[in-house]
C-alpha cells in the first residue's frame, strides 16, 4: 500500500511501486488534468510539483513520491486564478490545450524562483515543454504578463 498526498488530499493506493506517478494520478486518483504525452520525459505534458519542484510524472516512480506533497494542475489554485493561469486566459494561450497543464506547472515554478524572467530565462525554463500547436509566442508573452500580475499582487 502506498499513500500519496495529492493537492492536500491523501490517497491510499494498492499499486506497484514502480508505477509512474503519472498513471497513479490519472488512473487511481482520477485526476486527469495531468497528461500523457511521451512517457520518456521529453515533452513535459505530465509535469507536476513534488514538494514544490517540477518533475516529469511519467518517469517518476510512485515510491519516490511517497511522503511528499504532490501538486497537480487541479491543485495549483482553487479558482483557476494563479497568476500563470490568469495570464494564460487573458491572451488565450491554448489552442488544443493538451500540453498546457504541463506548460502552466513549469511556468509556475519558473515564476516562483524568478519573479522577473527574461526571454532567455523563459527559454531555459520552458524548453522542456513541447507544444505541437505552436503556442510558444503566446506562452512567452503570458509568462511576462504573469510576472507582472504577480508583482502587482505582491505590492497590494
Amino acid at each position: 500500500m502506498s499513500v500519496l498526498k495529492i493537492n492536500g488530499q491523501s490517497y491510499t493506493m494498492d499499486a506497484d511501486e514502480n508505477m509512474p506517478l503519472l498513471w497513479a494520478i490519472r488512473d487511481i486518483a482520477g485526476l486527469t488534468g495531468t497528461k500523457f504525452g511521451c512517457g520518456v520525459a521529453q515533452c513535459g505534458a505530465c509535469v507536476v510539483h513534488l514538494d514544490g519542484e517540477a518533475v516529469r510524472s511519467c518517469v517518476t516512480k510512485l515510491s519516490r513520491a511517497e511522503g511528499k506533497s504532490i501538486t497537480t494542475i487541479e491543485g495549483l489554485s482553487k479558482n483557476n486564478d494563479h497568476p500563470v493561469q490568469q495570464a494564460w486566459q487573458d491572451i488565450d494561450v491554448p489552442q488544443c490545450g493538451y500540453c498546457h497543464s504541463g506548460q502552466i506547472m513549469s511556468a509556475a515554478v519558473l515564476l516562483r524562483e524568478n519573479p522577473n524572467p527574461t526571454d532567455e530565462d523563459i527559454d531555459n525554463a520552458m524548453a522542456g515543454n513541447i507544444c505541437r500547436c505552436g503556442t510558444y509566442p503566446r506562452i512567452r508573452k503570458a509568462i511576462h504578463n504573469a510576472a507582472e500580475l504577480q508583482r502587482k499582487a505582491t505590492k497590494s
Binding site: 486566459q89 494561450v93 488544443c96 493538451y98 527559454d123 513541447i130
Partner: protein, 721 residues
C-alpha cells in the same frame, strides 16, 4: 409558454417514448442540407422540453440557449467560432450560452469531417441564415403576444424588446410560440459593419477549462466498466501475426486477456496482439512482456534512400498524368537556350498530436458506442457499420475535445480496432497508443519529389513545367491509379494560370506499401515548398526582385493588395545588408497566405530565423485572434517540418521512435511572428491550415538571399547552413 417540463437529463430512449405519446418536445427543423426554408415539426432528441429551432440552436423554457458545434475541436476553434457566428445573428451573449458537441449525424448536420479547414467556410452562410431566422421567429412571437407591430420589436441579449413600451420577454418564454410559426425564407442578415461579435477578437469560451485541467480530452474520458488496452502491432503496415506467447504478459497483475486483433485501414489490414487490463499501466507492462513473431513477407519493403532514388528516376523519365496543361510548355522548354531544371524533395512526416491516438468503444451486439478524439464521426459510422454489420444509425460516435489532430484523427482505423477489442471482451475498452505507436505507425504525410522546369522571356515566365512523384492518399480509398492526383496543383496560386501561358502540372504514379494520409494543409505543405522555391529561382533568373516578380505574375486584385501589405509590414524594400529576406505565397483551401521570413547569420554557426511576417487573405472571417493563433501555430509547425524532423524507413519500418529522435521545435527555437489579416468581404476561406505551406519556401528563399545557397531538400538543419 405552455411547456412546463424541463429535464435535460432525460434519456434519448425514454424521450422518444414520451415524444411518441404526447409529442411533448417539438422542434422546427430548418434542414441544413436541403435549403434552409422548410419548417418541419419533428421531435427534438436531447432535451424534452427544449425547442430545437434548427440543428444548431436549442432553447429551453428557462431561456438557456444551447449551441451545437457539429465539428471537432482540436485547437482550431470550432467550439468557439460556430457559437460566435450563431450568437451574432441570434442576438445572445456568449457568456450566457451552453455549447455542446454534436454526435455523428450527417443527415442532420451535413458533412462533419473536420478537415480541409472547412468548418467555417462550409457552414457560415447557413449558420447566419438559420440564426437570423430563429431570431425573427422569436421576434414575431413576441409581437403577436403583445399585439404590436413586429417592426417595433427588436432582439438583444436573449430577449425581445418592444421599443415604445419597454416591454421585454426572454427567449425561453417565446420559444414554444415561435416554434409554431413558419420559418422566414429570407431573414434579414446584418451587414459586416453591424457585427458586434463577428470579426472581433473575442476570448475563446474553452480557454478556462484548458488552464485548470478540467477539460476532457479523449484520453480523459471514463465510463463505467471501462477496461484499458495497449496493442503491439506489426511495425510494418499490412503485416500479420505469425505467432505470439502471452504467458509472461498474463502474469502481470491486472492483465486480463491477450489476443490477436486486426486494425483496418480502408480495405487493408494491420495485425497486432492486444493486452487488456484493468489499468493503463498494467496494459503497458503486459505488452512489454509479449513475445510476438511477425509475418511481413508478402509485400515489398521500402527504405528511404530507395524511395528518393525511385521518385527521382520517375520524374526524370516520365511525363506523368497531366492535371493542368495550357500552351506548349514542353516544346518551349526544349527550344529554350537557357532554362532551369531542378529537383525538390520533401520527407514523410508523422502528425504527433500531443494527445496520442486513443479511443473508447463499447460493442453491445446490435449497437456500438464510441468516444474519443475524433475528426470524422460520419466516416467512423460508415466503416464500423460495414465491418461489424451494424446499422449506421446504431453506431453512436461521440467527439471529445481533441489534443491536436492535424488529420490523423480523421482516420477510421483506431476506432475500428477499439470496437474489435470491445467485441471480444464484451465490455467497454479504452485503447491507448503510446507516443511510439503514434509517431511510427502512420498514416504519414507522403514524402514527395518534384521536378520543376522553367524558362524566362522578357523578364517573365515563358514556360513552366511541374512534375511530382509521391504517394496519392486517394489510392488507399480506392482512387483510380490511371488519373493524376487531383491535389498536384494544391498550394499553387490560381492567378498564375492567367499570366503563365505555357504551363503543365502532372503527377507520375508512385506507390509503396507505406500508409499515407492527410497531414495539416495536405499536399500544399509539400507542393508549396517546391513551387514557391522555384518561383524564387525564376525571379533570380529573370534578375527581378522576388516580391516584384510575384507582383508581375499575380495580376488579380486581391493578390496585388496582399503583396502590397507584405511589402509594407515586412519592410521588404528597406532591408539591410547581412539580412536575408525570403518570400512565398501559397493558396490552400480557398485562402491565400504570403509570408516573408528574415534570417541572419548565427554567431554560433549556420543561420537563425529572426522574424516571420504573415499576411492572410481568408475573405470573410469570424475571430481575428483565432486566425492569428492558427497562423502562429502553422508557422511553428512549418518550421518543424522544414528543419527539425522527418520520418524515414528501413525495410518499411520507421526509424524514429519518440520526441528524442523525431524532435519538435521548442520555445527557444521560435522567431518573432507577426500576423496580418486582409480586410474584405469575399467568401470565407480556410484558417486552420493555410498558414503552413509558405513557411518552408519563404525560409529557404531567405537563406538563398543571405548566403547564395539554394536548399532543395527538406528537412535541413539551420545550424548546418
Amino acid at each position: 409558454m405552455t411547456q412546463s417540463r424541463n429535464n435535460d437529463n432525460f434519456s434519448r430512449r425514454s424521450f422518444l417514448k414520451v415524444a411518441g405519446l404526447g409529442g411533448a418536445a417539438l422542434c422546427i427543423g430548418l434542414d441544413f442540407i436541403s435549403e434552409a426554408n422548410a419548417a418541419v415539426i419533428k421531435p427534438h432528441e436531447a432535451s424534452l422540453a427544449a425547442i430545437e429551432f434548427n440543428p444548431w440552436i436549442i432553447i429551453d423554457p428557462t431561456g438557456k440557449v444551447t449551441i451545437i458545434d457539429h465539428r471537432a475541436e482540436m485547437g482550431q476553434g470550432s467550439y468557439h467560432s460556430v457559437p460566435q457566428i450563431v450568437a451574432e445573428e441570434l442576438e445572445v451573449d456568449l457568456k450566457d450560452i451552453n455549447v455542446e458537441f454534436a454526435i455523428g449525424n450527417e443527415k442532420k448536420y451535413g458533412g462533419q469531417v473536420t478537415g480541409g479547414s472547412s468548418t467555417i467556410r462550409g457552414s457560415y452562410k447557413n449558420l447566419l441564415k438559420l440564426s437570423a431566422s430563429a431570431r425573427e421567429m422569436l421576434t414575431t412571437a413576441a409581437a403577436m403576444a403583445w399585439s404590436v407591430p413586429v417592426s417595433e420589436c427588436y432582439a438583444q441579449s436573449g430577449h425581445i424588446f418592444h421599443k415604445p413600451s419597454g416591454k421585454k420577454a426572454g427567449y425561453g418564454e417565446l420559444a414554444f410560440a415561435a416554434s409554431k410559426l413558419e420559418a422566414p425564407k429570407e431573414p434579414k442578415l446584418k451587414k459586416i459593419s453591424e457585427y458586434k461579435l463577428i470579426r472581433k477578437p473575442i476570448r475563446r469560451i474553452d480557454t478556462a477549462a484548458k488552464t485548470n485541467g478540467s477539460l476532457v480530452f479523449g484520453l480523459d474520458k471514463r465510463i463505467p466498466g471501462l477496461q484499458f488496452a495497449s496493442v503491439e502491432r506489426d511495425p510494418r503496415f499490412l503485416g500479420k501475426v505469425k505467432s505470439f506467447d502471452a504467458s509472461e504478459a498474463l502474469k502481470v497483475p491486472g492483465v486480463k486477456k491477450v489476443f490477436k486483433v486486426t486494425m483496418g485501414y480502408y480495405e487493408f489490414n494491420r495485425e497486432g496482439v492486444v493486452v487488456v487490463a484493468n489499468s493503463t499501466w498494467a496494459a503497458l507492462q503486459g505488452r512489454k512482456k509479449l513475445k510476438v513473431t511477425w509475418d511481413s513477407g508478402d509485400f515489398k519493403h521500402w527504405s528511404t534512400p530507395e524511395i528518393l532514388k525511385k521518385q527521382g528516376e520517375l520524374i526524370q523519365s516520365q511525363e506523368g498524368m497531366p492535371l493542368k496543361t495550357q500552351g506548349t510548355p514542353t516544346e518551349l522548354l526544349a527550344k529554350a537556350l537557357k532554362k532551369i531544371d531542378v529537383t525538390y524533395q520533401t520527407p514523410y512526416q508523422s502528425h504527433c498530436a500531443m494527445e496520442p491516438v486513443n479511443c473508447i468503444a463499447h460493442y453491445k451486439g446490435d449497437s456500438v458506442e464510441i468516444w474519443g478524439p475524433i475528426q470524422a464521426p460520419g466516416w467512423i459510422q460508415d466503416y464500423v457499420s460495414k465491418k461489424f454489420g451494424i446499422d449506421k444509425e446504431k453506431v453512436l460516435v461521440n467527439m471529445t475535445f481533441l489534443g491536436g489532430g492535424f488529420g490523423r484523427k480523421a482516420m477510421t482505423d483506431y476506432p475500428h480496432e477499439a470496437v474489435a477489442i470491445s467485441k471480444e471482451i464484451g465490455t467497454p475498452v479504452q485503447v491507448i497508443w503510446t507516443r511510439e505507436d503514434d509517431a511510427t505507425l502512420g498514416p504519414f504525410r507522403p514524402g514527395i519529389s518534384y521536378r520543376c522546369e522553367g524558362t524566362i522571356a522578357n523578364g517573365k515566365i515563358e514556360a513552366l513545367k511541374f512534375r511530382m512523384a509521391g504517394q496519392n492518399n486517394d489510392h488507399w480509398r480506392g482512387g483510380k491509379k490511371t488519373e493524376p492526383n487531383r491535389s498536384t496543383s494544391e498550394g499553387f496560386l490560381k492567378p498564375y494560370y492567367e499570366s503563365i501561358k505555357n504551363l503543365s502540372i502532372s503527377d507520375v504514379l508512385f506507390e509503396t506499401s507505406i500508409p499515407t494520409s492527410f497531414w495539416r494543409s495536405v499536399y500544399a505543405s509539400t507542393n508549396g515548398f517546391a513551387y514557391e522555391s522555384f518561383m524564387d529561382e525564376m525571379a533570380h533568373q529573370a534578375g527581378t526582385d522576388p516580391l516584384d516578380f510575384r507582383r508581375a505574375h499575380l495580376q488579380e486584385e486581391r493578390c496585388q493588395k496582399l503583396i502590397d501589405k507584405m511589402e509594407e509590414v515586412s519592410g521588404w524594400k528597406k532591408r539591410k545588408k547581412n539580412e536575408g529576406y525570403g518570400v512565398a505565397i501559397t493558396e490552400c483551401f480557398e485562402t491565400t497566405v504570403g509570408q516573408v521570413v528574415k534570417v541572419s547569420k548565427n554567431p554560433n554557426g549556420g543561420v537563425k530565423i529572426d522574424k516571420v511576417w504573415a499576411v492572410m487573405d481568408c475573405g470573410w472571417y469570424v475571430n481575428p485572434d483565432i486566425i492569428h493563433a492558427q497562423v502562429e501555430g502553422s508557422i511553428v509547425m512549418g518550421i518543424g517540418a522544414a528543419t527539425t524532423h522527418q520520418i524515414t524507413f528501413k525495410d518499411n519500418v520507421v526509424e524514429q521512435h519518440n520526441f528524442y529522435d523525431y524532435p519538435m521545435p521548442r520555445i527557444n527555437e521560435i522567431p518573432a511572428i507577426e500576423v496580418h489579416i486582409m480586410e474584405n468581404e469575399a467568401d470565407a476561406g480556410g484558417v486552420g491550415e493555410p498558414g503552413l505551406p509558405p513557411l518552408a519556401p519563404a525560409l529557404t528563399n531567405a537563406i538563398f538571399d543571405l548566403t547564395g545557397k539554394r536548399i532543395r531538400t527538406l528537412p535541413f538543419k539551420l545550424s548546418e547552413v
